[in-house]
């Protein structure tokens, strides 16, 4: 189905079509999600497989230099005349060995116990546990002091450095394979009788044929260190008992398998019910927050861009101003305005009506956050759709007018479908963004009100604000990690559904 087929439907049909394809898309998207994971790992393993491919045969076919480079990296390159390159390999090998001996190996060995003080005499629930050994007495004061902080094991450090060591090892392994390949390649070139590319020439390639490496190396390193490493570390956390009672350095934590997932899904009634309720509300919120902004933003853009309306710049600027003031300011102001005894309620009570619990009653608060979110978000949608409205081909309207379509019909038949069609990718990002919309909820209601049957949460809490509260307030780091993983899965599935519905993904396929 392309845009024309779609555009010819009536509004009702379109809405029905979109809703239908959203829901019929769910099973497919979930399947796709797992397929995508499968594909990802397949690609990953192919990549690794490609690395191994020829690993053995290269060794057999290799000359002494190539063979030597299997043990002493860079030896092959150097023997074949690529001194600079060979030196680089050699240095990386020495650096890696040094790193492992002084640092890495320690954490690979400790990871099983994640810093539990090992003392065979104290076994609780089959888990080894022991108090810190290095408290000592002072003869005059009787002080209990920790003598040397650095000797204290710390589960956090062990886990983090373990992940770091693994990442470094993976990177080193890639370099190692490249080293063998490069040695073999230079051997072949030499066998042909020509000279392998010099160091300078090879470096020059990074500005042309291998320009992508130059461009990507810094961003990728940044991502590995400050995004991938922390995420992996946090994922591991979901399988430990890192909670209030097990906080390093005072107390250690250890592995508990899938216990936390079980808690969230079924085994702890309170946690699983809280999760269920928050999940449902998160999706309802994301849906309304996205579509109210979208629809009303377009309408506002249309009003402002209506042909005979004057002072377009003025109107637009007025709305843009509210979008430009930092969100935490406007949201805190909204919170104060809407407080039970705030200015808005004093106006309401002044008119003889009873005060409205905008933020203190569950249902009211939910409506309030959606409405305030409109206030926050509509200017953005207005700005963007203003830009798009100008792109709609004028002849579409002309022919519609000739066919006798009135303004409303023009909107439902042309404008809205066009914008909806073009903005689908934007809508996806907004939807995912709303699932993760921390600010509006946190600054406005703080997640409240909080009835007794919510664990560490309230009725307007989203999964992400719950995650934040679990981390900051109740220190349930392990549960927070589980929630983080779940949010990831939801976002991935949601995006896949919508991507499948939109043409954008196909374009990307065609493009690449």
């Amino acid at each position: 189905m392309d845009f024309l087929d779609y555009a010819q439907m009536t509004t009702g049909q379109k809405v029905a079509y979109n809703i239908k394809s959203f829901f019929t898309g769910i099973p497919g998207a979930i399947a796709n999600f797992f397929k995508a994971i499968g594909r990802f790992f397949k690609a990953l393993f192919t990549l690794i497989g490609n690395g191994f491919k020829g690993y053995g045969s290269r060794f057999i076919k290799g000359d002494i230099g190539t063979k030597l480079s299997y043990v002493i990296m860079g030896a092959g390159s150097m023997i074949h005349g690529q001194i600079g390159k060979g030196l680089c390999f050699l240095v990386s090998e020495i650096a890696y060995i040094y790193f492992m001996i002084t640092f890495g190996i320690n954490f690979l060995l400790k990871i099983y116990s994640t810093g539990v003080y090992v003392d065979e005499n104290t076994l609780v629930d089959g888990v080894i546990g022991k108090e810190p050994p290095n408290y000592e007495l002072d003869p005059i004061f009787g002080a209990r002091t920790v003598t040397n902080l650095d000797t204290l094991d710390d589960s956090n450090k062990i886990l983090l450095f373990f992940v770091l060591t693994v990442l470094v090892s993976v990177a080193f392994f890639a370099v190692y394979i490249t080293n063998t390949k490069s040695a073999y390649a230079s051997q072949l070139i030499k066998a042909e009788g020509s000279k392998p590319v010099g160091f300078i020439a090879e470096m020059k390639m990074f500005l042309d044929e291998r320009f992508h490496v130059t461009l990507l190396i810094i961003p990728v390193l940044g991502l590995l260190t400050f995004t991938v490493l922390p995420i992996l570390y946090t994922i591991f956390m979901a399988f430990t008992n890192y909670d209030k009672a097990h906080q390093p350095p005072g107390n250690m934590y250890w592995w508990v398998g899938f216990q936390n997932f079980a808690d969230v899904f079924y085994s702890s009634q309170l946690k699983s019910q809280t999760f269920g309720k928050i999940l449902v509300w998160t999706i309802i919120w994301a849906f309304f927050a996205t579509f109210t902004n979208f629809i009303f933003g377009i309408i506002l853009a249309l009003l402002i861009n209506k042909k005979d309306i004057k002072f377009k710049g003025f109107w637009r600027t007025m709305f843009v101003v509210t979008a430009a003031v930092p969100q935490f300011v406007t949201l805190l102001i909204m919170k104060l305005l809407l407080a039970d005894a705030g200015p808005v309620n004093s106006v309401i009570t002044g008119m003889g009506l009873s005060a409205v619990p905008f933020l203190t009653d569950g249902m009211h608060a939910r409506i309030t956050v959606i409405v305030v979110n409109m206030w926050v978000g509509i200017p953005y949608t207005m700005l963007i759709s203003s830009g798009l409205l100008m792109n709609i081909p004028e002849d579409l309207y002309e022919s519609a007018r000739i066919d006798g379509a009135n303004a409303f019909q023009q909107f439902t038949k042309i404008t809205f479908p066009y914008i909806f069609f073009v903005m689908t990718p934007y809508l996806i990002t907004t939807f995912v963004g709303n699932i993760n919309n921390f600010n509006v909820i946190y600054f406005l209601t703080g997640g409240g009100p909080s009835p007794a049957d919510y664990y560490q949460a309230g009725q307007t809490d989203l999964l992400v604000t719950w995650l934040y509260k679990l981390t900051i307030n109740s220190k349930d780091y392990n549960l927070a990690a589980v929630i983080g993983i779940i949010v990831f899965v939801i976002c991935a599935i949601g995006s896949l559904i919508t991507f499948n519905m939109s043409k954008a993904s196909k374009n990307e396929e065609e493009f690449s």
Binding site: A143, A341, A452
Partner: protein, 475 residues
Amino acid sequence: MVTKTKRVLAVILTGMMAATALAGCTQTTKTESGSGTGTASTASTADGGESKSEGDGGSGSTVDVYSDEMTANIKAKMKEEAAANGGTIELKVWCASADLKFEKTLIEEFKELYKSDDGSYEFKIRSSGAIGEPDAGGKIVESPKDGADVFNFADDQLSTLVEAKAIAPVIELFNSNVKANNTKETVDACTIDGTAYAFPKTSDNGYFLYYDKRVFKDDSAVASLDDMIKTAKDAGKNVYFNLGNAWYNAAFYFSAGVTIKYENGKQTTTFNTDEGLNAAKAMCHVAENAGAGFTGSDGGSGDNTAVEKGFNDGTLAAAVIGTWEGPAIKKAIGEENVGAAKLPTALIGDKQVQLESFGGYKLIGVNQFTKFPVTSQALAYYLGNTQSQLKRYAERGLIPTSNEALSDTKVQADPAKKAIEDQTPFSHGQGSSVSGKYWSTNVGGFGGEIVTKKGAFTDDQLKDSLAKIQEQIDT
């Protein structure tokens, strides 16, 4: 044979007594760390029983901390600690931002007192008001090594700090003095399972009743909550009692006879009982008047703002709140119109029952992971001693905890001090009542819900919520 054993026993006992006087709690603390993780072996449990009695025995004798000899001892220790850090003692102190200026003057005094005689060490003490008393415990636990060496905190966080082993037990030298100088309730508030972990500073982190004398003529007018609400309503005003906050609404649970106890690292509560139901129903009864004689929520702006605003615009006639709002209320309605009293009675079950409360204290703690354990404790002790408490009262109006400071005539004349004293028999220490979990459970949220719905709940709904609360706290 028998006599010989007896003699040996006597020698051992004497030795133990002597050791206790000097080394005090050391044994106990060692056991604490074991039981905290729930990993204590049978051997160390036996130790615990023994050492507890030792700890109690040690409180009798005190050594003057500021005697020349002790000062020299402490200075020697400071020198030692400084030497490990290149000759400087670097400390970080956290206190309430409003108190920062005042605390800095005390810190200067401390530096002068313990100045190195031979210039072998120097102090570098940074004080910060960024982490206030309500948050200090949580932030210390979050990453103890980044936390302050000495920090001020509210006593409700003590259990969390001890569980996380982030707070250092008080050195026996200081502890014996703290015990001797401060009221028993205060000392109890610093103690968990027989070990003292903090230095008391002020005794006013609890709540009582502030009222407008123009509306409530005398003490009998503020005796019962129901009467107060009626009187306030007739005057077109409200009584403020934040039921949406677990700290305040605990008054109803305590008074109804609900057990809220925290002992030996274990929280026990009886929310899900008839007493709990009575308490919830009593709150519902009060909340029926919400908006007409009664305000049960801060409306999201925080207690301080709500109270201040209420007295400023004349919508409040009385408020259940603490000393920190005293100055603001005085400013709003004039000092001569401000009255203070213990909490009123409330209708619980079918009787009028005196409302009980959390008796709160502000404490000073020392980070377990400080590089300067003795210096930090000396500083904490200095900040909490009688002289400092009196200065704090004069500068900041905060009610002391030391027996001597409390008997000061100025302190004696303070109406808030009397209200706190009257409330004390009906108050519960936070450290011995609740663990950190209590605060993060929705006890407050449930109270807030009662207020929003103006108490329109069936018994079954209340029971259901109470069961959930109980489950959350006990897990």
